[in-house]
Each structure stands twice: as structure tokens, then as C-alpha cells.
């Protein structure tokens, strides 16, 4: 919601102008009003778009931020998202890494709150086993089919 901005379509303006023009004007007003974007008036958090002075720490933070899911625009990582809460999460990650916390601990802290959903890094928990086993199973099926093909070919 907060990551999409949409503008009203201009189709239909030619027909029945009398109805559509005020309607679109109203919609445009609603869309342009600051409240509709649901963003606060505060500036982004300090470390949200600023690199840490220590390149090694910044690299750690960047790697972690690439693997954390944005809460409001669920297809993006917090490193990619422009949402305010993603900025606040980047600030949180950089602050904690600058304070010497290990990335794994920060990830665990977030998983404790939002579930493993928040992390893009695949886990080894039982729910993910089919995903790990599927490629092996498919390879086995493929090998079986190929073997049968070769045998049948010999017979003909």
C-alpha cells in the first residue's frame, strides 16, 4: 500500500464529461493530499540512507539488509524499499552492527518478532525440507526416465 503510488486513469474523459471530470478531480485531490500517502512528516532516520564509516561493518549491514523483507511492500528487501518503516529498519540494523552486534543476532531478534517470514535466507526448519529435497527428487525422476528411454531405444 505504502509502496505503490497510483494515478487515476484518464480513460472515459471524453464520454459523459459532466460526471467524470468532477469525479476525477476529486480522486486526484484525494490522491494528492498528504494524508493519502500515509507518510509521516519526520525526516528519514539517521542511518537509513547513510553508510557506516567502517566499510567492513557497512558490508555486513548491507548483506543483512538484502536478506530482510520489507514489512509493508512484501516483495522487496529493506535495502530496496522506500517505505518509511524499511528506512527505520535499516537504521536499526546499522546502529546495532555499529554497536558490535553480530548480523545473525539481529536476524534472530527480528525473527523472534515477525517470524521466519522476515528473513529471505532459507532455513533448515522442517517446513522447508520439501524445498531442499525437491531438486534431488526431480533429478532422480529424470535419471529414471532417461535410463528407461535408453533401454527402450536399444530394444527398438
Amino acid at each position: 500500500m505504502r509502496c505503490n503510488s497510483s494515478s487515476p486513469s484518464m480513460r472515459g474523459l471524453s464520454k459523459r464529461k459532466t460526471i467524470w471530470v468532477p469525479a476525477f478531480a476529486g480522486m486526484t485531490l484525494i490522491l494528492l493530499s498528504p494524508a493519502a500517502f500515509a507518510d509521516s512528516n519526520l525526516p528519514p532516520a539517521y542511518w537509513s540512507d547513510r553508510q557506516l564509516p567502517d566499510p567492513r561493518q557497512e558490508a555486513q549491514a548491507q548483506a543483512l539488509m538484502d536478506e530482510l523483507r520489507c514489512l509493508v511492500c512484501q516483495g522487496q528487501s529493506i535495502a530496496d524499499s522506500n517505505a518509511e518503516i524499511a528506512g527505520d529498519m535499516r537504521d536499526l540494523v546499522r546502529r546495532r552492527i555499529a554497536a558490535g552486534e553480530r548480523p545473525a543476532a539481529i536476524r534472530a531478534w527480528l525473527i523472534q518478532r515477525y517470524g521466519s517470514w522476515i528473513s529471505y535466507k532459507p532455513t533448515a526448519e522442517p517446513a522447508a525440507w520439501p524445498l531442499w529435497l525437491a531438486p534431488l527428487a526431480l533429478l532422480a525422476v529424470g535419471a529414471f526416465l532417461v535410463r528407461r528411454r535408453i533401454r527402450m531405444g536399444r530394444r527398438v
Binding site: A35, A38, S40, L42, D88, L92, R113
Partner: protein, 175 residues
């Protein structure tokens, strides 16, 4: 090739299509729930959101009585209609504590003057840190906290008139 094997691709296609149609008809639930239910409220100490009200800390929530912690913001549209319902709850004796996310004192004061003020205390969470610590993903959201400071229930989205009974029941359970 046997008949069954020959029809296998078609069967797989049908299964895939059925899966796609099913997901289109019943979209996945994308609400992000906090996993902290049943656990104590994380330690925090927020500065006051407005000068005329007390600040909010974790210890204010473990007073022996259940509290409703409402995460709101003056820039949040659904919060406006929620305030009326919160005031109904306040009239029924519910202790409501506010956490104002990414907000300024003057904006909070303006919001309360315009829409009403159901809050006992308001903490100012400028960088969404307490919001994230609570496992909340947006505004408005509310948490029912029991007298020992344990999170009992999370309500995602605005509390509407229809939710009043549910919230009162959750607060009763938390007693």
C-alpha cells in the same frame, strides 16, 4: 510408453492450473502478525509524545491491571476514526496507552484536539523502534497487555465499533 505416462504432463498441468485458480480465488493472507503474543512486553522507555502527558515505559504496563496499547500516528488516516471507538472503550474503564509513531509533539496535540484524546500516556516512537520491538508492522495496531505486562492479543488495523466487544473480552481475559 504406457498410457498413464503419456497423460502425466496433462495431469501435472491440471494440478498446476487448479493450484493457480485456488490461489486467485483465495489470496494468501499478507498481514504480518507479531510473534510476541504470550511474552512480556520488550523493555522500552519512550519520551512523552506531548508535553501535557506522561511518557510511556514498559513498567507502566505491568501495574496489575490490563492495558490497551494503541500504536497510532497523527498522519495515519484510519487512526482518526479509531479514536472515537477508543473513547467508547475509555468510557467503559479501559486504560489506553498511546505509542505515536514517527510523529511531532505539535502534530500529536493537533490530532488529539481535533479528534479527541482517549490516552492515559503517550510515548513518542520517532524511529519506529518500539513498534519494531513489538513486532508491529503498521499503524494503527493495538496490543492487549495483561496486569503482569504480558502481551495477550494483537489487533491489526483500526478498532471499529464491531470490534469493541472482542477487545473488551480480550481485556477481561487478561485480568
Amino acid at each position: 510408453m504406457s498410457r498413464a505416462v503419456r497423460f502425466a504432463p496433462l495431469a501435472i498441468l491440471i494440478v498446476l492450473l487448479a493450484g493457480l485458480v485456488w490461489r486467485l480465488a483465495t489470496p494468501a493472507d499478507t498481514t504480518v502478525t507479531s510473534k510476541l503474543a504470550g511474552q512480556p512486553v520488550p523493555m522500552f522507555a519512550l519520551p512523552p509524545g506531548i508535553t501535557t502527558k506522561a511518557a510511556l515505559t514498559t513498567s507502566d504496563l505491568a501495574t496489575g491491571q490490563p492495558h490497551l496499547v494503541n500504536i497510532f500516528a497523527s498522519w495515519c488516516v484510519p487512526c482518526i476514526s479509531e479514536v472515537k471507538v477508543l473513547q467508547q472503550l475509555k468510557a467503559r474503564g479501559v486504560l489506553i496507552e498511546g505509542i505515536a509513531v514517527r510523529d511531532r509533539p505539535e502534530d500529536i496535540a493537533d490530532f488529539l484536539a481535533r479528534n479527541g484524546d482517549p490516552y492515559e500516556r503517550i510515548g513518542s516512537d520517532e524511529q519506529s523502534r518500539v513498534q519494531i520491538a513489538l513486532g508491529s508492522s503498521g499503524v494503527p495496531e493495538s496490543f492487549v497487555i495483561d496486569g503482569k505486562g504480558i502481551i495477550r492479543y494483537q489487533h491489526i488495523g483500526a478498532i471499529t465499533e464491531g470490534d469493541v466487544r472482542l477487545i473488551l473480552a480480550k481485556l477481561e481475559e487478561a485480568k
